[in-house]
């Protein structure tokens, strides 16, 4: 039998199970079909999944590694209640460092409100060649920071997200993620015929290596099942982020800025602090996540798009844009994310494992390693069985 697995008709399962397995949980024809599905969905995706598990491991701890390597910006010690300067002051200092460039985005640092990031570019709607700065929110000065687009962690990030191949690379990895989900489902179906005569968690250590690894594959596979399905599924959804965002722009954003269609670009802009304050006044229960400047990809030529987030663990992952007329400083529209935007934003923490502190990161890492053992043992079982 050309199966990746030692199927229930093989020696790996006790003889008693052989005869009955065929008509108990699955017919032998069904087992053959599911085995085919499991074999090919796994074989095609396994090497990419191993790569994703390996590169995901350091990414889980990117903050901690950044601190160790000294690649995270560190604000100097000041009195805890040191006042923050205005956003416009921060931008002024950022632009002074990069004459000729324009600001596309500004946002407070998610973890440390003493810092803020500023993204500049040669043109307001440029989508490549960003210059990112970390600024001290209390002085407005730029903090020393190595470039974001080089070094070990950047390589890990690119291999994990798009294989250095942009959107096609992302979508390709999303396809591999889908195959992982297929492999998980078919693996669950095959768990029954393999395990029906064995107690949960049986690892027959006294048997030959293939049997031992089959048992381990079944044990780790079924225990990591839900975690791997959620992390794999949300990872796949994350690969569609660019497309979902484009759709949102053409759907919601286009509706919100429709009244401005065909109008000339604003002659003068109100200070961005005014736009930020207007958004805060509209949504007092929310906090600033980032601001997209007029003409940038996340806004319209006529608006500051102020993206606000909630203040509970769950809603802090969600975004609500407030569009502020860049010439008058008045709010013109604001809509909560539609369901597809919410689904995308909720998928992020569930993929990153960054919402429960260091213990959750460590559990994520252990489950990631267990998944690698499942992938590796599956490959081994297929190799031995060929």
């Amino acid at each position: 039998m050309s199966s990746i697995l030692t199927t229930p008709t093989d020696v790996a399962v006790p003889a008693a199970a052989q005869q009955k397995a065929s008509h108990r949980f699955l017919s032998s024809a069904a087992i053959r079909k599911w085995t085919w599905v499991h074999k090919w969905s796994s074989l095609v995706s396994t090497l990419f999944m191993l790569l994703l598990c390996l590169t995901g491991l350091p990414l889980l701890f990117h903050h901690e590694i950044g601190h160790l390597l000294g690649t995270e910006a560190e604000p100097p010690a000041m009195a805890a209640d040191a006042p923050r300067v205005s956003i416009d002051r921060v931008l002024e200092r950022a632009m002074a460092r990069h004459p000729g460039k324009v600001v596309q985005f500004y946002g407070p640092d998610e973890d440390d409100d003493r810092m803020a990031f500023v993204t500049l570019n040669d043109t307001i709607d440029g989508s490549e060649g960003f210059t990112s700065l970390m600024m001290d929110a209390r002085t407005g000065e730029a903090l020393p920071h190595p470039p974001f687009d080089e070094g070990f962690m950047y390589v890990m990030y690119k291999l994990h997200v798009d294989l250095f191949a942009g959107l096609p690379g992302k979508l390709f990895l999303g396809g591999m993620g889908f195959l992982l989900l297929v492999a998980i489902v078919s693996g669950v179906v095959l768990y029954a015929p393999f395990m029906r005569k064995l107690a949960f968690g049986t690892v027959r250590r006294d048997r030959k290596a293939r049997t031992r690894w089959l048992d381990l594959h079944n044990l780790l596979g079924v225990v990591t099942l839900v975690w791997a399905f959620v992390v794999g599924g949300t990872g796949m959804i994350n690969t569609w982020a660019d497309l979902v965002f484009k759709y949102w722009q053409n759907d919601q954003m286009a509706q919100m800025v429709a009244p401005y269609k065909g109008l000339p670009a604003p002659a003068s802009l109100v200070p961005v602090q005014v736009a930020s304050d207007a958004a805060r006044a509209l949504l007092p229960g929310m906090q600033l996540r980032f601001i997209a400047f007029p003409g940038s990809n996340f806004s319209s030529p006529h608006h500051y798009a102020v993206f606000m987030k909630g203040d509970t663990p769950l809603t802090s992952r969600l975004l609500q844009p407030v569009l502020v007329d860049a010439q008058t400083g008045k709010v013109t529209d604001s809509r909560p994310m539609p369901w597809y935007g919410t689904a995308l934003l909720i998928s992020q923490p569930l993929h990153f494992g960054d919402y429960g502190g260091m213990p959750l990161q460590i559990l994520w890492a252990l489950l990631d390693i267990a998944t690698m053992v499942v992938l590796g043992s599956g490959l081994y079982l297929w190799w031995k069985k060929r």
Binding site: A192, F200, D206, L225, W227, V230, I346
Partner: protein
């Protein structure tokens, strides 16, 4: 027929087998899902609960996969 007696109770036995087979995987799966969600929705105690709920599957793997001594054979 030699199997007539056992066939009489086949549905009940099959059900018992199914329960025995899936009890632990379902329990581990429910715990995992609870752990994934509770930490996302609630901070503080929610995080602690998520550590416990996801820590149990990890402990189960370590115990059955590596730590447990093989059962003694005669």
């Amino acid at each position: 027929m030699s199997h007539s007696h056992s066939n009489l109770h086949a549905p009940a036995r099959r059900r018992a087998e199914r329960i025995a087979l899936w009890r632990a995987p379902v329990a581990v799966g429910v715990l995992s899902l609870a752990g994934l969600l509770v930490g996302l929705v609630y901070d503080g105690p929610g995080d602690a609960l998520s550590w416990i709920a996801l820590g149990i599957p990890v402990a189960v793997m370590l115990w059955y996969g590596w730590l447990r001594k093989p059962p003694r054979r005669d």
